[in-house]
Amino acid sequence: MYKLLLCWRYLRTRYLALACIISVMLGVATLIVVNSVMSGFSTKLKDRLHGLLSDIVIEASTMEGFADPGEKMARIRALPFLSERIEAMTPVMEVFAIMQFSWPNGERVTRTVHLVGVDPKSRNLVGGFKEHLVQARSKPGEFSFELSPEARKRYEYREAIMDLQQRAITPVDPEQPPPPARTPKRIKVPCGVVLGNLIASYREKAGTDENGTVKYVEKYPLGTDRSEVIITTIGGERLMPVYDNFVVVDYFKSDMSEYDSQYVFVPLEHLQQLRTMQNRVTSIQIKLRDYATAPAVVKELRKMFGKDGVRVETWEHKQGPLLAAISIEKGILNILLFLIIGVAGFGILAIFTMIVAEKTRDIGILKALGASNGGVMKIFLGYGFLLGIIGAWMGTALGLSLTFNINAIEHLLSNITGGEIFNREVYYFDKIPTNIEIWMLVLVNIGAIGIAVVFSVLPAMRAAMLHPVRALRYE
């Protein structure tokens, strides 16, 4: 009983103990905030990656891809085990390419891109495409690379005018027999292309909202249905350069800068024709009804296509290095941050050693009154435990309130320092994402309390081992 009372009294009368509590509190709060933000970032990132990549990819290991994807998909559908679990499939051809275009001011741009031929119809079923298109996402129905009717008309007029000019240049000689009637020319309207958002757009500040958040608008100088780009890639058996004109019809905005700054989408069939690689693709993307079945499906697909020189992987496996890097980063950060609590632990050790020295006489008194060594030890262990609990509890409260208000705090700090701390242009999130995990809170609390107790063991043992007579003679 005296242990509890003394713990409590020591807590209330030693202001040094406040230092221990505050250091534990700060450590715990930091851990909670950092973990919540890291976890927020990584879950957001995972969500986005998964939203972009289909569940499973069957991928050719060479650039020429594999032939007859239709036959492969038919084989997959024929197997009940797979067709039951697979919701949709879509063939894709990916290849590097060079793209040229001009800004409205006439400046020409040439850059390499990642060219993707997609089949809009089946891709819409697999997902991860239309919902990222700046224009089409808000429109009902399926996405297609078709130009709008007005744009088509414009191209038709242009062709007609050029035709008229042609005729006007060649004068009609009445002496000569009339020239053979012109074969009606097939009007060539360029195919549509979807550009990655970061390739041809920029962000402009558009004032601030009522909270002081800087608002941005995206500007697309190339617009839609009016600008042409020239895409050059390689085709044919000899991999000769091939090129074609395309008209920008939409922009792809996944908020993953790696994709938005590289990817350019054209219709699959058009790309196959351009490269004279009819009926060849580089991958088949598969959407599952339930992602939990992915390992079984991958296994079955590997069995089916094992000899065809293709890879079968889940999206997580494909992004393995990135996801692993994130989790390693998180682990290292946690170890480093626990060192903060470790520092708090040494603070407890030092302060407790001082308190034990200061209380030497009192320890002697307690022993003279019949307190056991264990009882004296428990006073200081209990004291450490109490400091740990209070520190951890306060740290949890502080950490949670910081996490919940992290965006407001960021604004405040940005306003004070005058610079943007969380640059929305860099991070691509309009808010700092957070994700509070219960098990993380529990672990951090247990860890902090554990460290507080562990570091009070040594001073507590010292107190327990004090010889009562020496303690009583201590002045």
Binding site: D362, L369, G370, L472
Partner: protein
């Protein structure tokens, strides 16, 4: 019949590096039930050491200590903790109250040590009443909520006596209880001890080097060269 407390041929030597301080050199002493014994001797003669040995706060190098015929100096530490809690009451020259606690809490400390938090909770009213009664008996009923630093020396010593008595000990071991007090306060403390001895039959062993207060006690023994001087020599003193 056994004496209540008996020390037989106690030896105690403090060693520090090559230095040896032989404090007790074969000291024997009997204390009978209900006796008020004063131990006098020069400073450094080992009076405090003797008291610590008798109260099981320390162990002799050799010799034995018996309580009602049972040897107690070689008990394991739990047994000794219990004895200090129940059987011996200590008061010291410098009062040795716990500064964080009120007078009442100080008085109740031995009871808190004896009871777990659980049984304390069950008996807290009864124990508090006992503590209050003890303080009132020491004339400190009004001061129960004061911290030691808010009390005078005499009041602190009376609080310490109340604490020593709360667990109804068999023997009160007092180490210069008046050493830090002026004559009137010291006299008051001695009077309290005298009354406890006479009215309650409490056995008291008191160490002092103040010869003025020893006549209140039943018997005075003098320590010389680590032993109790033969009674004959005392008469001349």
């Amino acid at each position: 019949m056994h004496p209540l407390l008996r020390a037989i041929d106690l030896q105690k030597t403090y060693r520090k590096d090559a230095n040896r301080v032989e404090v007790l050199r074969g000291l024997s002493l009997d204390v009978h039930e209900g006796e008020f014994v004063s131990v006098i001797g020069a400073s450094g003669s080992g009076k405090s050491t003797l008291l610590h040995l008798l109260g099981t706060l320390d162990r002799p190098d050799s010799g034995e200590i018996h309580l009602e015929g049972k040897r107690i100096d070689n008990l394991p530490s739990e047994g000794r903790d219990k004895l200090r809690n129940h059987t011996f009451g200590f008061i010291f020259q410098f009062y040795h109250l716990l500064p964080e606690m009120t007078a009442l809490e100080n008085v109740l400390t031995p009871a808190m040590i004896a009871n777990s938090a659980w049984s304390w909770w069950g008996r807290r009213k009864e124990l508090r009443r006992q503590g209050m009664a003890m303080l009132e008996r020491m004339g400190l009923g009004q001061r129960w909520n004061h911290r030691p630093r808010e009390l005078s020396g005499g009041e602190m010593q009376r609080t310490a006596i109340a604490r020593a008595l709360i667990s109804r000990p068999r023997v009160l071991l007092a180490d210069e209880p008046t050493g830090n007090l002026d004559a009137s306060n010291g006299g008051h403390i001695i009077e309290v001890l005298r009354n406890l001895n006479r009215d309650d039959g409490l056995t008291i062993v008191m160490v002092t080097h103040n010869l003025d207060i020893v006549q209140e006690s039943d018997r005075v023994v003098r320590m010389v060269e680590g032993r109790i001087e033969p009674a004959a020599a005392l008469v001349n003193a």
